[in-house]
Symmetry: C2
Subunit: 208 residues, 2 copies
DNA sequence: TTCGTCTGAATGAGCGGTCACTCATCAAAG
DNA sequence: CTTTGATGAGTGACCGCTCATTCAGACGAA
């Protein structure tokens, strides 16, 4: 019933309607965000997605694969966006500001996704290690390289360990996001990027 | 078997041997750190603690209560230590440095506990909210008040939002800890506190 | 256009395994 | 004998996943 089966008009000849996969991913993000991955039932995801339990397994091998898929897409999108948006900029300080803004804008725009990333991702060393090895490491590298660029340009103190400094910036942004999620108050996340960058750039700049 | 039942000689008249509670907490920290809270079985905790499954329930109402107990003890210990160690200091900058050092020293000294705090605690909005409302909030307040003290003393830029700045410091330290846990390399965590503080204090200081 | 056939996407009841928690029983101490 | 901490096999609920079955619609023949 519901019969929202109206054949996708953009591809009328295709029998498969593969945006069910999309619906499942969306639903899973919502359900995982609400109850936590381990407390969520595949049946709930299916219900929210508007499909039968079994259908989930036509698109995903397991419950775990759904979570992994949400991560992978989120991370690669974020990194691609950051690379694309900083490519045109020259000043490393502007690049960092842009990265920070994008970081908080993305999370601020989709609370469910933000919860899954800030909370569920951390909730399992298994996923963490996997993610840490792939996505996070690349993201930190992007920040680190930008920092080193600034060091070579004489903008940032040369004696600082860029790896550690990158983690400081990431950690600060990360904490903004986590606090935003947990806060009962409703406020804009993205503008905090400027406050963080203000202090951060001040901290790492060569004496003016 | 094993019969490590040798009556505690320090309190020979007490029939109860309440450090079984301690053993269970220790075991749970270890087991949770290894497999994650949701993947851990109560039976594993009991086995590691050297007691029977049922004994766990003589000391804790549920599996969840064990986790909660680990948190509560950890947080209150940490806050008490931070308060005690900073009370004797005058310079807000020194206070912050002490707090940061203690933060990373504590986590660096007990990897299992660190994993539970950095990973498991984050893995559930439920716990997070609870913890955030209680422990973390108080910890952030301690940092914020120290920052405001520094602002009044003219050491830190007065126009900064102390609440946000406190989160930045906490986030940076938190990220150091998380990275340390996930890193396959073995290094000392505590010294990073100085690098963080260096950049941080530079970032928030009034122009010298 | 209409009918018959075939395909494979979708379904959801049910299976099988897991695990938090209980409780009848025990044993040592007083 | 009573009390009390401890035991661990048992139980019942839960839930991820499977698979026999259904049926909408594509396609070809007439």
């Amino acid at each position: 019933m519901r019969s929202a089966r109206s054949v996708n008009p953009s591809s009328p000849s295709r029998p498969a309607v593969p945006d069910k996969r999309e619906a499942i991913l969306r639903a899973a993000t919502k359900v995982f965000a609400e109850s936590g991955y381990f407390n969520s039932k595949v049946a709930d995801v299916a219900r929210v997605a508007g499909v039968a339990d079994g259908t989930v397994y036509l698109y995903f091998k397991s419950k775990e694969e759904i979570l992994r898929c949400i991560f992978e897409r989120g991370v690669s999108d974020a990194i691609a966006a950051a690379r694309a948006e900083t490519a045109a900029l020259d000043d490393p300080r502007e690049k960092l500001r842009r990265i920070a803004r994008l970081h908080l804008e993305r999370l601020g725009a989709d609370r469910d996704l933000a919860v899954v990333f800030q909370v569920e991702l951390r909730g399992s060393t298994k996923f963490m290690e996997e993610f840490s090895a792939a996505g996070l490491a690349e993201y930190l590298r992007l920040i680190r390289e930008t920092l080193e660029e600034g060091q070579r340009a004489g903008l940032f103190r040369a004696e600082l360990n860029a790896k550690v400094v990158a983690k400081i910036l990431f950690g600060a942004l990360d904490e903004m996001a986590t606090n935003w999620i947990l806060s009962p108050r409703s406020y804009k996340l993205a503008p905090l990027a400027d406050q963080v960058l203000d202090i951060f750039l001040n901290g790492v700049s060569s004496s003016k």
